[in-house]
Each structure stands twice: as structure tokens, then as C-alpha cells.
């Protein structure tokens, strides 16, 4: 059995919480009952004051850190930042990471069975919004006996959930970390999402979303959706330095097979994703992104939308992120400043584009760790491990 790294949370086992209280959704429909799958790392202290909530991004899930078994090739998606001695130090904090409603990794979603029909939910699964996720996460917190999170933390779409937490449950979040996010999608962001959705929906195997009942899946469409998404996660420079114009063979072959390394990479990413992810979930999640706009109900004035927020914020962006560029994070920071909230804003120099939020980078880690140490100090958190 291979040995796990010392700074890993080690082997982790997902758990499932079942909820029988119906959840009223923003779309007007109600989920009668649902499951949320989640993982926890570290130890909840006696005062239950050291819990940290991790909110995941578009294609994320509950497995944020550690390994499901010793043979797992890669640890959880945010293992670079969660673990003993890492930015989110599991020696001090009790980390809760869940799969959102509508997901395809164990929480109730399109691939679950609709109790009313006995069929898979499929395309009939209600559209969920960032606010719906936050309400469901609050119920999970209730279940775990967590009245107030020491911090809610998320990158990209996860950051939007954190922002919504501070607006909807201001007394339940002691600190907020919002990384590589935006207070709302731009027309260009929505345009990319629409290309992704059309790729899926126009796949002949989509069957209006009932593909499972036809024993198939819109893999070509989902692959295209992921390929286009992936382009927006990387920067031009990162792609350039990774692949340049490198060819897979020495000569041009004047055909449409894979020639350039970047083509090979994108196809591989698309193929892997299309067999591991559910297309209906992808559609739902992109819509949740598009709909997110907390300022809308305040005449477009974000500073008014954040008025209920009470906690200190850390807002982080990355210089080469063009999906949610630094200017969008700054827009959020400005609104918080205008509203007189406690906020720090940091723009990390990174060549890795939007994906930078997932990766380790010395300055990013230093800032993140400094913020979390201050959180631990102010809450008087002792080491629990």
C-alpha cells in the first residue's frame, strides 16, 4: 500500500445526510426530500466553533481533500489548500465539503430517482439556484450541529455561494473567502455557457434529457461543452507555454485527426469528463451560474445587496484569469467597501488563468494562510489534532 503524504488529511469516507423537510426552490418548485453527500476533515471542537464550509465550483463535488482509498491516483480537488498545516489547517478547523443539490456525485440530482414517478429525475429535476444551494447547506449545518461557520470558503461558483451565505445567513458566517469569483456573469460568460448547453442539447443522444432511459448519454455534446469550458479556465499564456504549436508527430498530415498537442489535450479532457459527469447536471449548474446576480433585486446596486453582510471578507483574484477577471473581484470588493464592510482584496500574479484558484502558489498560500490564522486566533481556536 503506497504511503499517503504527511500533509494529507489521509483516507476519507463520504457520508450521506437525508432530509425529509421539503425544500422550496427559487424556481417555484419544491423538493420533497433529498440527500446531501459530504465529507469532513479534522475534528469539530466541543464549542462547535471551528467548522469551515467549502463550496464547490461548476464541476466540483464533495471530495475536496484526502483519498478515498490508498490506491487513488489523485487526492481531492482542493488538497493543495486543505490539510494539516495547509491554508485551511485541519489541525485547527473542522472542514465540511458537500456535493450540491443537482450534482451527480451522490447528492440528489438528475440521476437520482424521482419518488413521485419512480423514474430517474433526468431533465425534470428542478432548476436549482445558488440561493437554493445555500439554504440546503444551512440545513446540513443544522444537522451537524454547526450554528455558525468560522469561515465559508469557495472559488468560482463556490465563491458565489459564499457571497450568498453572507447575505442570507449573515449571523451564521464568521468569515468569508471568495476566490476567483464574480458578482454576476458577463454576457461573454453566459455566451460560453450557452455554447456548452447547445453542444449538449443538440447531441442526437440527448433525447430531451431522457438519455438514460434510452440507455445512452450525450457524450459528444458533453465533451464539446467541457472542451469549450476548459479553454476559458486556462490563460492564453498557460496554454501557450504548455502546448505552443507543438505537433504530436513531426509532420503535418493535412487532415482532421489530432495534430496539435493542444487538440489532443482538449479531446482528452473532454473525453474523460464526458464519461464521468452527467449532462443534465452540467446544464443545471451552468444555469445556476447564469442566474446568479444578487444586485438585480437591488436595482443593480451591489453595495445595497451586500448591506446585510456582517463578516470580514477576503476576496482573491488572479492576474491571468479571463473567465472571471480581477476587475470582477474588484467590483465585489468595491461594493463591500462602499457598504462599509470589512474586506481585503488581493490580486495574485499567476499565469494559470481561472484554474489558478485550484493550484498551489506561494503568495496565494501565504495570503490564504494569513487570513485563516487570523480567523483561528480571533475565535480562540486551539489545535484539535
Amino acid at each position: 500500500m503506497p504511503e499517503l503524504p504527511d500533509d494529507s488529511v489521509g483516507l476519507v469516507t463520504p457520508q450521506t445526510a437525508h432530509f425529509d423537510d421539503p425544500l422550496a426552490l427559487a424556481c417555484g418548485r419544491t423538493l420533497p426530500a433529498y440527500d446531501l453527500v459530504y465529507e469532513t476533515y479534522g475534528t469539530l471542537n466541543a464549542e462547535r466553533s471551528n467548522a469551515v464550509l467549502i463550496c464547490h465550483a461548476l464541476s466540483g463535488h464533495h471530495h475536496a481533500a484526502g483519498y478515498h482509498d490508498a490506491d487513488e491516483r489523485k487526492p481531492g480537488w482542493w488538497d493543495a489548500h486543505i490539510g494539516p498545516g495547509k491554508s485551511i489547517d485541519t489541525n485547527r478547523f473542522f472542514v465540511v465539503s458537500l456535493n450540491n443539490l443537482g450534482g451527480c456525485h451522490g447528492s440528489t440530482g438528475p440521476i437520482s430517482t424521482n419518488p413521485a414517478t419512480g423514474r430517474q429525475w433526468g431533465p425534470d429535476f428542478p432548476m436549482v439556484t445558488v440561493s437554493d444551494w445555500v439554504h440546503s447547506q444551512a440545513r446540513l449545518a443544522d444537522r451537524l450541529g454547526i450554528e455558525r461557520f468560522a469561515a465559508a470558503i469557495g472559488g468560482s461558483l463556490g465563491g458565489m455561494q459564499v457571497l450568498q451565505w453572507t447575505r442570507l445567513y449573515p449571523e451564521r458566517v464568521a468569515n468569508a473567502v471568495i476566490i476567483a469569483a464574480t458578482p454576476k456573469l458577463s454576457a461573454q460568460n453566459i455566451a460560453f455557457n450557452e455554447v456548452a448547453r447547445q453542444a449538449i442539447r443538440s447531441d442526437p443522444d440527448f433525447h430531451d434529457g431522457w438519455y438514460a432511459e434510452h440507455g445512452t448519454a450525450p457524450r459528444r455534446g458533453l465533451k464539446l461543452a467541457r472542451m469549450v469550458g476548459h479553454i476559458t479556465y486556462l490563460s492564453e499564456d498557460a496554454m501557450g507555454s504548455k502546448f505552443g504549436r507543438d505537433l504530436r508527430s513531426t509532420d503535418l498530415n493535412f487532415g482532421y485527426d489530432v495534430e496539435f498537442q493542444v487538440e489532443s489535450y482538449l479531446r482528452y479532457q473532454g473525453d474523460t469528463f464526458s464519461t464521468a459527469f452527467d449532462a443534465n447536471t452540467y446544464l443545471l449548474m451552468t444555469k445556476a451560474l447564469d442566474y446568479f446576480d444578487p444586485a438585480a433585486e437591488h436595482g443593480g446596486v451591489l453595495a445595497e445587496a451586500v448591506a446585510p453582510c456582517q463578516c470580514p471578507f477576503l476576496v482573491v483574484s488572479f492576474t491571468s484569469d479571463w473567465r472571471f477577471p480581477p476587475s470582477r473581484s474588484r467590483e465585489l470588493a468595491n461594493a463591500l467597501i462602499r457598504a462599509g464592510k470589512r474586506v481585503s482584496y488581493v490580486n495574485i500574479d499567476s499565469p494559470h488563468g481561472h484554474d489558478a484558484f485550484l493550484l498551489p502558489e506561494p503568495r496565494y498560500q501565504a495570503v490564504f494562510a494569513a487570513f485563516m490564522s487570523r480567523v483561528a486566533r480571533e475565535l480562540g481556536l486551539e489545535e484539535t489534532a
Binding site: I337, S344, Y345, V346, V367, A370
Partner: protein, 201 residues
Amino acid sequence: MMRADLELIHRWVPEGAHILDLACGDGTLLEALARDKGVTGYGLEIDPAGITACIAKGVNVIEQNLDEGLVHFEDDTYDLVVMTQALQALRRPDRMLDEMLRVANECIITFPNFAYWRHRVHLGIRGYMPVSKSLPHAWYDTPNIHLSTFNDFEHLCREKGVHITDRAVGIGDHEGHWATRLRPNLFGEIAIFRVARQERR
């Protein structure tokens, strides 16, 4: 123990004020003001080490290059803007002065006095660009691109119609010297100016 100029600013900032600290460094001043006087506000900084230190202290810090001005900040939204030892490193100190007095009615500004007698000795007698405690860099790597004297700054304020409401000078780190009023342009190493818009309300 705070730097002597920060000690004095600490005394000048009113209780409970909402302030901006431009080039806030490691956040020492804002931390002390929040603790001792219930002051709120934000620091602006571009140095990564300073920013991390602010965050570790719980001081609100915004990563921003001051040469961009204060476009993100609205008119009259702060009680006071503080800028210590940064005016001389800006591309357009005159425009920054306008910006500071746009977002607040009052500002406290500190900068090294180029006409300090030791600096004059360096340049006027020895023929070298001054290097001192307040100007520690060599001519080729200094961030200080717009050095000035007390007289220069007072002249700029007069031209702009900016009120100088208080003024202090310092020599080295000793607080006892801050009261020095005798020929400040010659004996003062660091200038601390408190200025306000002409139309005081």
C-alpha cells in the same frame, strides 16, 4: 513601538474616524488606530509582504497601485485620508493630492524633506545624491521619483488653494524632536502635513 511619524498621526486622527491609509505598509497604523480609537477603514498597498502582514493582523487591505488614483472611491466618503512616505514615489503627487481631498475633506501626508541639512551637505558640498535614514536608496534604484521640500509642498498647497491646518517636522526617530519649529525646511528630516479643502464645513 511605532515609527515616530506614525505616533504623531495616531494622535491627530480623531476617535471613530473612517479613514483610508494609502501605502499602509504592514498595517501597523490602522491596527493601532482600530484598537485605540475605534477607527475603521481600509489600507491600500501594493507590496505583497505588506499585504500579507495586514491580512494576518486583521487589517482591511486593498491591493492597488496608487498611480491609478482613487477612482474606486466615491467623493466625500471618508473622514480622513492618510498617506505616509509615499507621495514622493508617485507619478503625479499633485493629482494624488486632488484625489485625496476629493474622497475626504482632510488629509495627513508625510514625506522626506529633500532640503534637510544633511541632504544639502550630500548634494551641495560633497556633490552626491543624498542618502540618509529617510532616503535610504541609491540614485539608480530609488522608488522616490518626485522628491520635494517643505517649501515645495507648501507652495503646491498654496497654488491649489489647499489649507495647511497643522504641520510637524521630525528628525530621526526621536519624538522629542517633533516640536522643532526652527527653520523646518533646514532642520526637519520628515514632514508631516495636515491639510484640508479650502471650503471647510
